[in-house]
Symmetry: C2
Subunit: 407 residues, 2 copies
């Protein structure tokens, strides 16, 4: 006889149950997973051993010896890297180490966004940001994009319109480099125009640079943070994409007054310091070598993905080959709705992201899908795309035929 009924005790709104984990799908093109072959096992083990011998005793205190912003060695690494690649003058006191960049996003949203507040977001954007802002009952305005990323003329129009209506937006959230999901890169002139608009309207830029390390073709423009003389950009980055997501390490850079409020909101007694120490120790010696090696591996996987799509989807799959990163944004012919294809593909062991989930205006992106390529090996990429083509053909008639099989 059970006398305690938990269901009757839940506070409203009751969260939905998360189903038991069933492992990853066979052909896994979802999630920002990294390339297992690129994990620098030997050097990471050596870094861990070294740093535990040197600093392990500091793990006995909350926040080790560095206070609530995070391990000083990692904050210094972040500040130095930002300075050396983007200019500006970030200090470790303006860096907050977070549990992945995701915690930084949650904190900024909690600090700034109340129900009814207006926020500006690229029209296609990180699914979880869109959902988080919806959950906070924000008015989300999607800014149109083209092959060069956010259209600054469109942003200007939106900001003018808001000014006329007396509305002050809370921020412009942007992923300027290897935008998620479109992979576009905002070039320097647009970056400067964006910052000028931000200053003119008093609306901060919230810059998510979590993929920027993975650019391998063409120039990498400086971060908006580094270009902003007023130092008012809210900036987040991640070690998930340039090292390993299971470390759950990211960072947030903001003016000290903002960081001090965010620390109060954070209230988690800090981020695991061992992972911070190890990452700082490893990257202080191997950052460039590691990122070069990682990019080379991703570039090869992208080539396989592009070949597989060309072979199995032919002209039905349109895309701009990205200058880096770990995903591809693909457009299918008019009439396809990728939302209807997620379940049948899943049954065939293939997971992908439908376009509407990554879009402020869901319906407008129904022809799109996002394919992440860092995790599957090259043969799984090839086979997975072949299967996907089969499922799509069966469900929609598109692609009409593949290289191997007349349908």
């Amino acid at each position: 006889m059970t006398m305690i009924d938990f269901a009757s005790l839940y506070a409203a709104p009751t969260p939905a149950p998360t189903p038991s984990w069933a492992g990853f799908p066979r052909y896994n093109f979802v999630g920002g997973h990294n390339d297992p072959q690129a994990i620098p096992v030997d050097e990471l083990a050596a870094a861990a051993s070294r740093v535990i011998h040197e600093r392990g005793r500091t793990l006995a205190t909350y926040h080790s010896d560095s206070g609530p912003l995070g391990d000083l060695s990692l904050r210094r690494f972040v500040a130095d890297r930002l300075r050396s690649r983007s200019g500006g003058s970030v200090t470790p006191d303006e860096v907050l180490i977070t549990a992945g960049s995701w915690q930084g996003i949650q904190l900024i949203a909690e600090l700034l966004v109340a129900p009814g507040d207006t926020v500006l977001v690229e029209q296609h954007s990180f699914q979880h940001v869109i959902n988080l802002l919806r959950g906070r009952q924000a008015e989300i305005i999607g800014i149109p994009m083209d092959n060069g990323g956010m259209r600054i003329d469109a942003l200007a129009t939106v900001l003018e319109d808001l000014r006329r209506r007396g509305v002050s937006a809370k921020f412009v959230y942007t992923i300027p480099t290897l935008q998620n999901p479109t992979t576009t890169v905002l070039e320097l002139p647009r970056r400067r125009e964006l910052l000028a608009l931000s200053a003119a309207h008093g609306v901060p830029v919230f810059e998510d640079e979590c993929y920027a390390d993975l650019i391998w073709e063409g120039e990498r423009p400086p971060a908006l943070l580094g270009l902003d003389e007023e130092r008012k950009v809210l900036h987040i980055g991640s070690f998930s994409k340039c090292l390993a997501p299971a470390l759950r390490l990211g960072y947030l850079v903001a003016p000290s007054e903002v960081v001090q409020r965010l620390v109060t909101l954070k209230g988690d007694a800090g981020i695991g310091v061992l992972e911070q120490m190890v990452t700082a120790e490893y990257f202080s010696r191997h950052y460039q070598t590691h990122v070069d090696r990682l990019r080379n591996g991703l570039r090869l996987k992208l080539q396989v993905l592009v070949s597989a799509l060309n072979e199995h989807f032919g002209t039905s799959a349109e895309f701009q080959v990205p200058r880096g990163g770990m995903f591809l944004w693909v457009r299918l012919p008019e009439g396809v709705d990728t939302r209807t294809l997620v379940a049948p593909a899943g049954e065939a062991g293939v997971a992908f992201d439908d376009g509407p989930s990554w879009s402020v205006d869901g319906d407008g992106a129904r022809r799109y899908l996002r394919l992440c390529f860092a995790l599957p090996n090259e043969s799984d990429i090839y086979d997975g795309i072949a299967r996907l083509a089969e499922v799509f053909h069966r469900e929609t008639g598109i692609p009409p035929r593949s290289a191997n099989i007349e349908r």
Copy 2:
């Protein structure tokens, strides 16, 4: 000219700024810090190196290879330890790895406690739990305690009274073993009575066992979780006290239906897996040796603390010498209010916790203070207590004299 004013953009209520970190006080008797000398530097480094070589590539995926509940090796360790020391039959699917036990507390509060809900808590309890529940606008009822911990007769009276009023409490939060701050241990008969009351009233027990590994004198009673045949106890534990708080690792054990809701609330894309792997690898080989060594060190520090108090406070400081743990709960003579002594002690470099902060009925604990002794070394414990006696004497006339100095 600054065009962006963050202060005008904050959502209400604006969090207070956290002041810049100024380092630890010279004589630090606050916070659940551990003993730096007990950090097993060599074995931990070896475990890290081993496990990164063996499983490092799994860090490339979110949640590594174990899903959102946490690393399977660590969940197995938790389930095995609970079973072997307390009986019962916890499975890894009922274990959720959390960012310290603190995240477990936050999750349970979020799942169960709405404004106006009633919760039962030992009259002296973990400061942050009291504050969290106040923040959620709960009605907190403090259950009277004696030298044996929570008084079950008093709990029965409260539950009867609530039943008469038609109020269903959300849980009874208890730290049954080495209670924080009183260090009391709830013996087996009271544990059984508590579980019987819980079942009879349909009010779950929320058991916080985070200090229980540190008991070194007398029997360690089984966890309430292990005694509960209905398996309805919500249970949390921590690796902060038995290993290192800066790892930020804890765990929560609950029925699967509850765990699945909590995972949804958690929404943090997992806890750092490197720390989970390393902890599981280290403890799978060295758990008992480590805890024995840690306890021996703490026991010595406690002896120094007790000697220093006897020497410098004499009969003015009354306390029950605890059977383990990392803090002492001290009562001063009538008329002293420890809240007024925190600031002057701080100026003298000594930090301690005043009683009212660790009490549901603040005023009723004004004669008490809590002294944590794991972090300071033995000479700092001795000198710190001498200084504290000086400050207290100067401010209150108590203690009237010390061993060395006629005041």
